[in-house]
């Protein structure tokens, strides 16, 4: 499943990385502590956070995340948006809480995984 599917399903606002919405989302991670995200998130994750400062772009880029979703109506800070556009990292926003956004994405990912799983 790619970012575009999540954007449509959750009606996300796309701030940057417009031409990278076909990027495959492998899994997800939620967290506002950057060290936690650095240590425990994985390549291909969609990362949900409430942090809006520009260091989130460095973290997403270093971890090869599929993209970032800012939750609870958060919007990227001006320099964050500039950096995201410059580095072409998809940053999206939603009015949903982190809990609800993560829950919905979890279900979508699980459905897709179940659908593609080979029967025993």
């Amino acid at each position: 499943m790619n970012i575009e599917t999540i954007v449509k399903c959750l009606d996300l606002n796309v701030f940057s990385g417009f031409d990278r919405l076909k990027t495959e989302v492998l899994d997800g991670y939620t967290g506002d502590l950057l060290s936690d995200v650095m240590a425990n998130s994985k390549e291909g994750d969609i990362w949900m956070t409430r942090q809006v400062h520009q260091n989130i772009i460095a973290v997403a880029s270093l971890k090869d995340h599929a993209g970032i979703i800012l939750v609870h109506g958060a919007e990227p800070a001006k320099d964050t948006l500039e950096k995201a556009l410059r580095e072409n990292i998809p940053v999206m926003g939603t009015n949903l809480s982190g809990f609800e956004a993560a829950g919905r994405i979890y279900n979508i990912l699980k459905e897709k995984k179940d659908a593609t799983a080979t029967p025993p």
């Binding site: 506002d32 502590l33 950057l34 060290s35 936690d36 650095m38 240590a39 390549e43 956070t49 942090q51 400062h53 520009q54 260091n55 460095a58 973290v59 880029s61 270093l62 971890k63 320099d79």
Partner: protein, 148 residues
Amino acid sequence: MHVHEKPIFESSYTVQGGNFDEAGKVASQIKVSLKKLGLQTVVIRKAALVAYESEINIVSYARKGTINVSITPKQIKIETIDEGQGIPDISLAMQEGYSTASAKIREMGFGAGMGLCNIKKFSDQFQITSEIGKGTYLKMIINIENGA
């Protein structure tokens, strides 16, 4: 006794303390270099994390610092030398959750007391020394062979 091997890559980076706008830039540069060398993904991931957390530590706690990277076919060595306040109690600083970070740093999602623990966890060898009022030295080795 380690067999001395000629480095296939060496570089040195300066990090300014307090400059959160640029934080992560050096780690990104290091990651790009490691990718160009064609190293295994798992090794690159470990090194990127170690470089990132080391860089954040300099930005958060020191006036300035240097990150040296030296790579041989067998290992990646990352050293950081900073000019800063130093760490009074290293064993305390190594405890997960312990942090002396300011409120400003914590608000940004740093200073959770995980940085040094993560550096140690993701390194195959880890060494730390510190002198009060002078600064802190970190040395991390990440093995390339048996990197998984």
